[in-house]
Amino acid sequence: MIVLLLTLWLALAAAVAWIAGGRAARAIGLGALVIGLAAAAVAFVAAPPGEGWRSADLPWIPALGARAAIEVDGLGAVLILLALAVGALAALIARGSIRTREGFFYFNLLLSIAGAVGVFGARDLAFFYVFWEVMLVPMVILIAVWGHEYRVRAAVKFFVFTQAGSLFMLAAIAALGAHHRAETGEWSFHLAEVATTAPGGYPGLFIMLGLFVGFAVKIPAFPFHTWLPDAHTQAPTAGSVVLAGLLLKGGVYGLIRFALPLFPEASLALAPIAMVLGVAGILYGAVVAFAQTDLKRLVAYTSVSHMGFALVGVYAMSELAMQGAALLLVAHAFATGGLFIVAGALDDRLGTRSLSRMGGLWAEAPRLGAAALILAAATLGLPGLANFAAEFSILFGAFGPAPAYAVAAAAGLVLSAVYALSALGRAFFGPPSRRGLRDVDPREAAALGVCAAALLALGLYPIPIMDAAAPAVSAALEPIFGAPGAAP
């Protein structure tokens, strides 16, 4: 119920913001997200999993057995809170930089967050797909209208790529529902019911691949990642924050929630290939990031690299690794989101994203530099910050079942140090600049402070997140460890 109320609240606020326009829209946008975040936090703390507040089951398409079924467990709660928090950060940042057609901007922002909230709560596959698409379209509009110089090309590429993946996912969902009907005579798309009749063998493999393609494009797994650098670079800062902090999480979440539990044999068979793609993403993303001169594009490629880690964590078939992947989703949101805020702040002030035109900025903007230092340290995996806890868990968990992949992935840690420190150095260190750069204003400082604080807190105390994710992780791994030929 809480999820439905949240999405309705955000949709209503979106409509009001569009109609109100101008400065009122900014207040409505930020206010709605902060209120939603507070309400959700209270609700999830007060109502333990399994309670009425956390689930809902309403009829939707009786003829096809598709229901509006919601169930929020620990992982879902964490990601929903993350969605609202990232949305609030984006709204806070947008206050300073979006000056035209604000009503429409906040309409799209709030709708995208509403879609994300629904994605992390839905249990019925068809209902999940609705929110999957609702999450996507407003983001495309955000990029196309408020983005930078090649925004149209980036938005179209983003949309067509993601849509193609999603359509194969829809075909797989339809096939799964039809299979359930063939077995039981009733239509259903609900996860719990479809799980009992999910096919094995070749049909299962193909359906799982359909789901995998949809999720892999979103993650983004190498080689389906080519939409991401353009989309992240050309999006406005707030758009980049939401894109990196939120939309990418849907892919990994979908794998843990749907693809693995429904198709244990097929997932086990795909695991080596998926891990190869993950490692390839880690190494390729890191190397290409190092080669960038555009700061935002550099951060975009670090996203590819980090999400490669998450993919390895999911398919390592280890509880610790998968919990690490869940933690990485949260850590990456704050680290990369924060870096996009820094890049956006520099772009606003200097009029450029090019690292070769930056240098020595620390002298004039020490607070911005300090924030960038913390975020870069998080990105490279400094112990004490959240990314380290996540990546270490993934490597430790993956080493048992798949040592070769863990070793290869660990090389990514070295490469991430290379690109993070080199980018930081090129931007902030060197001969002091004298450009009259102004430091962060209170609004940006608050946003960056939240990111840094979250990374530090989760780095020192990641247990709550990993425990919250545990039920979903064991639900994903249980069918696999019970399946024949499973790893110990």
């Binding site: 698409e133 149209v152 193609a164 829809l170 969902i173 339809a174 039809a178 239509w187």
Partner: protein
Amino acid sequence: MTRSDVLAVTPLLILGATPLVVILAAAARRRHGAALAIALAGLALALAALPAAAGAAPAAAGALITVDGVALSFTALLIFGAAVAALLARPYLARATARPEEYYALLGIAVAAAAALASTQHLGGLFLAVEALSVALYGLIAYTRERPASLEAGLKYLLMTGAASAVLLFGAALVYADTGGLDYAAIAERAAGAESFGAPGAAGMALILVGLGFKLSLFPFHMWVADVYQGAPAPTAAALATISKAAVAAAALRLFADTGALAHPGLGTVVAAVAVATMIAGNLLALMQMRVKRLLAYSSMAHFGFALVAVIAAGPLGLEALLYYLAAYFLMALLAFGVVSALSSRAGDADDARAFQGLCWRSPLLGLCLALALLALIGIPPTAGFLAKLYILAAGADAARYGLVVAVAATTAIGAFYYLRLLVIALARPEAGAPDARPPTGTAVLLGVLAALLVALGAVPGLLDPLLAPASDALAR
């Protein structure tokens, strides 16, 4: 004929009488508003008569017309489409021509013929209804005869449809020669008795498919579609895309399902191949179009490729999927053509993509309507377009036609590109000095209602139940 037979046929009678009344009234005194009012009144009366007819169904009027629940569901949908087309035509014709009254008469004939096409279980009835529909459409397409493009479009349609009808008739003759029957039940009986169609019968069915395929713009009979849609006035293009195609699709479904033709292995394969080819060709051809009406023409071709999957799936789910798909498609297509019609001027239709630049900022209402129509055409939730796609995919998967399912998914992805391109043009900055695009109030209300229905139907598919009820009742019996 008993009293209940007459009751069942009443909607058809009302639909048939309406154009006569329109013509007589126009002959007495030409008034645009009166012609529209009479046409709408006729449509409303026919719609009101539907529940009574549903109670009396199934019933036959002679050998040619068989009114059952399925036919009545389609008739309701066709009446809705005709009403919207007539309302869209009102401001358009006021600008474009000095003699608009006959348009409503022709539209009335078209919808009556379309309803008859959905209500027939006889090859003779099929042919007559198709011919009547075509003749009405010749006039509707070439109506703005001062424009050479319209005349050319009308002539193209005349020649193509003439050829198609000849092929259809030849096919019907071959089927008769093989099975000795002209009504679907008799054909099914004879074909089942002889263990499916012999060579002449199968060839005849294929030729009938060719004839119907022309009107549905299936591959490879689609060559006319872009030119005719481009030349025709926008409300006629809307009627072509919705009423004409839906009626023929309904007739094709009933023909192939009720005669058991799809059970014939060769025919089944041919129909599936045509569906896949239509999806691919329609989407690829639309990709290359920069003119909006041509783009919508090929998009309509692609969409009926998708709808053909529901026809192939058959069965109760196939029928429900087809009805839902057509209802959703009616809303999308009428909305899209409605925006084109609202932007058109006396000189010509708003065909160039430049006319749409910055539409969202010049007229937020038209921009929103266009955006919703395009998103629905791609198949994005929460519009009805998404549910339509889900129904089609579910029906295809249920019938174990996985190749068709994958083809629908892959070609829809291609489609996303050209719809998005138009949406991005509408979101771009308007050209300096671009004309104000705000539509008149009546059009604005109509388009707003259509847009609201499109989203409402996507969120609550149960809204369509009153439309589907006669069909589901008929199938349950």
